[in-house]
Amino acid sequence: MNDDLGPPGAIASAAHEAREAVVSVGSSTLRLVEEIGGMAELFVQAIVWTLRPPWRIRLLFEQLDFVGVGSIFVVGITGLFTGMVFAVQTYHAFSMFDATGLVGATVALALARELAPVFAGLMVTARVGSTMATELGSMRVTEQIDALATMAVSPLQYLVAPRVVATIVMMPVLTLLFDGVGIAGAYTVAVFGQGVSAASFLSRIRTWVDPQDIEGGLIKAAVFGLLIAIIACYKGFHARGGAKGVGRATNEAVVMASVVVLVSDYFLSVLLSPFWTLHTHGLR
C-alpha cells in the first residue's frame, strides 16, 4: 500500500520541502516589499535633508565631480561605439530599400529616446552605483556612520543627500554627452565609411528629430539617476556583516539598479509616448 506513495518519511520530507519553499518565497517577497518601502522613505529623507541647512556645498561638488566628470570617459566611449555599431547595422538594413539617407535620423532618434539614457544609466550603475554602495557599506560596517551620528551630524544629510542630488543632476548631462558622441560616431561610419551624403544625414536628423525627443530622454535620465543613487545608498546604508556584507550590498545594488533602469525605461517610454508622438512629424 505504502509503496504506491513511497515511504511515509519521503512524503513528510517532500511536504516539508514544499512548505520551506513557500515560506522562503513568502519571506523574500516580504523582504522586497520592505526594501522598496525603505527606499521610498530614504528618497523622502534625502529630499528633506537636502533642503535643510547646513548646506555642505563642498560635498555636493565632490560628488558632482565624481559622478559627472569621472564618468565622461566611459560614457563617451560607450556612446561612440553604440552610435557606430548602430550606424553599421541600420546602413545594411536601409540599403536594401535604398533609404540609407535615413541612417542619421534613425540613430539619432534611437539614441535620444532610448539608447543614451539607458546605456548611460547602466554605465553609471556600474561605475557610480557600485562605488556608492561599497563606500557607504564599508562606512556602515566600520561604524563610521555611527560615529557621524554621535557627532550630531545626520548621515543622511552628510552622505546620502549629496550623492542623490549629484546623480540626478549629472545623469542628464552624461546622456546629452552620449547623444552627441553617438551621433558623431554614426556620422563617421555612415559618411566617411559607407559614403552616405553628409547633407542628407544631417538634414534628415533636422526634420525628424525634435527637441522633445531629446528632452524626453533627459527626463528619463534624471529618473534613472534618482533610482540608481537611492538603490546604491540604501544597499550600502543597510550593509552588515563585514567585508562579505559590503560585497553583497554592492552586488545587490548593481543588479537591482540595472534591472530597475531597464524596467522603468519601459514604463517611462509609455508615459512619454504622448509627449513624443504629438510632436513627431515625418514618417507618416
Binding site: E143, A147, M151, A152
Partner: protein, 246 residues
Amino acid sequence: MAMIEVSGLHRSFGENHVLRGVDLAVEEGTTTVILGSSGSGKSVLMKHMIGLLTPDRGTVRVDGEEIQGLSEHGLARVRRKFGMVFQSAALFDSLNVFDNVAFPLVERGGLPRREIADRVHEKLDVVGLRGIDDRYPEEMSGGMRKRVALARALALDPKIVLYDEPTTGLDPIATEYVDEMIVSAQERVGVTSVVISHDIGSAFAIADRCAVLHEGAVVAEGTPAELRESRQPFVRRFLALWYQRR
C-alpha cells in the same frame, strides 16, 4: 542627579537576548567603568546611552531627559553633550588625521580656521601624536588610530565621554597615559566618563564606580573597594582570575 540613568533596559538581536533588564546610574562628574566578559553586551549598552541603538524595553535618561522618542533634532542636541570613542576607533578613512580631529569642530561651526588648527594640535598633543597630521587611518597602527579617536572625541570638550575600550591595543606606557588623561579630564573640568575596559588594574585605578555586566544585567555595582569585597559568584571568579595572573 544622575547624568546618565539606564533603567530596565532590554535589547535582543533576533534570538540573541543581549540585555535583560540593565539598571545603571552614572553620576555627574564621575568615572564609571563597565566590566564584563567579551560578548556580554558592554558595547551594546554604551550605544544605547547615546541613542545609536533603541531599546526593546526600558529607558535611558541623559541629563534628566529621556532620549527615546526624541526627534532627530532633539537627539542631535543631546548628542552634542557627548564624545564617544568607538571600540573600532571608527575614524573616517577618507579624511587624514587632522581632518578627523577637526571634523566635530568644523561641523559645529563658528570657529575660525586658526582656532580649529590650534585645538586639533592641542588634542593631538594630549594623546602624544605629533607631526602626523597628513596620515590617513590606513597608514597608522591600531593603537595610533585609537589615540586619534580619543583626540576626536575630546575635540569639543564634551560634558560626557563614552570610551569603548580606549586602551585595548595600547602598550603599557600609552595605557597609563590614557588612564591619566581620563582622570585629569574629570578632575580639571568635571567630565562624566563611562569607560568599558578589560583591564581590571586600570579600571580600579581610574574608576569612581564599577559595574559588572553579566548575562544581560548589572550583577555588581560599587566603588572598586566594594567590588573587591563582593560576594557575587561571577564577580569573584572574574577578579580571582585577574589576581592569579598578577
